[in-house]
Symmetry: D2
Subunit: 118 residues, 4 copies
């Protein structure tokens, strides 16, 4: 399927996966948001006692574990967006544009302050 984006491809694979296992009954957006949160926490647990500098080295030591956790997060996110009927790619591109306006480079360079503080 030449025109199918990878997010759409993941979305379809996840639909097939859930249907084959009769898991749609558990996949309310409420439940999926919780599952997504739990996966992000599993990722975050690696970093809790590390310094910021040490956190860059994480993937080198735990390449497989880290990749798998990032994958879990993406899969639940794609599934949640599907159930909420949101086009994830369109939404991301739109948000990038909004952010460019919200945080003009010449004004915010080098600062992490929230834009309302400018």
């Amino acid at each position: 399927m030449p025109n199918q984006t990878d997010l759409m491809m993941l979305r379809n694979k996840l639909r097939d996966f859930a249907t084959a296992r009769e898991w749609d009954q558990f996949h309310s957006p409420k439940n999926l948001s919780m599952a997504l949160m739990v996966e992000v926490a599993e990722m975050m647990e690696h970093f809790q006692w590390l310094t910021e500098a040490q956190s860059f080295d994480l993937a080198k030591q735990n390449k497989d574990a880290v990749s798998e956790e990032l994958a879990d997060i993406l899969l639940y996110l794609v599934r949640l967006a599907d159930k909420l009927e949101v086009d994830l790619l369109d939404a991301a591109l739109l948000k990038l544009e909004k952010n460019a306006i919200k945080y003009p480079a010449d004004r915010v360079r080098g600062s992490a302050k929230k834009y309302t503080e400018y």
Copy 2:
């Protein structure tokens, strides 16, 4: 760029965005995992008092807000994967395969029990 996947395209846009604003200094994986968590919580807040059934209707009422929150989650996830040098699409496809083996359809149909309970 015909061969560039959309996740790779988002990754590159995010690199340019951060570089132009000198924000790389804040983008340690430790910090990015926290920012990602905060965005997931903002999404989850919509559902906390809703029933599972009501949670399906969320996007209809709050289409723009919900889309934007899902976008924020994806953008931070792509950025985090980039800083950890993980190919998000490859990792997701690999995890889907692992899940198919971990949860064979004929064994788990209709049940949300963890696979070690089979």
Copy 3:
């Protein structure tokens, strides 16, 4: 110590615990907030596929595991409040008063809408 509240007692025990193990170096508020988040996610994981009704039965089946997770959350919260020099009990009592004003019983009875919607 007759006047010592239980939150203060937990705070002191946690100070001794960390000092004896030279763990203060890891206990920045930033790190403690991440550890707290991870513990809440471990608790939340029990509920992600359960219905709200089923979630009431959780403690009956997993009494020890659930109690331990709630304990972990309280311990990290007390530790975080200590490092931020906040009196947890005073803050909670003050917030209860604020909430009573923010959500007058006669106006909000039976509704979970945010108060700005009234």
Copy 4:
């Protein structure tokens, strides 16, 4: 009430608060765990771009906001424990004892490694 601990006192105030507003219907453990998570994220958001050292100064600048967020976390935690019929203080004291055995001071001094790595 001389024997009533402060956690028990908060628990009773929260029961009265919810009953007066007919909010028990929303307070399933599933929902309360989500609300708790959202409050922890609101706290964590303050730290996401700060260094660990900067995170110690947070309460000085934002004393009221930080106190209120810690209060919210405690209130939801007490409410959740109540609905799961767990005695929070007993659970915390028991966990402190377990931790002392799990992490003997002479073995773990100065290290944040998980105990199974010893």
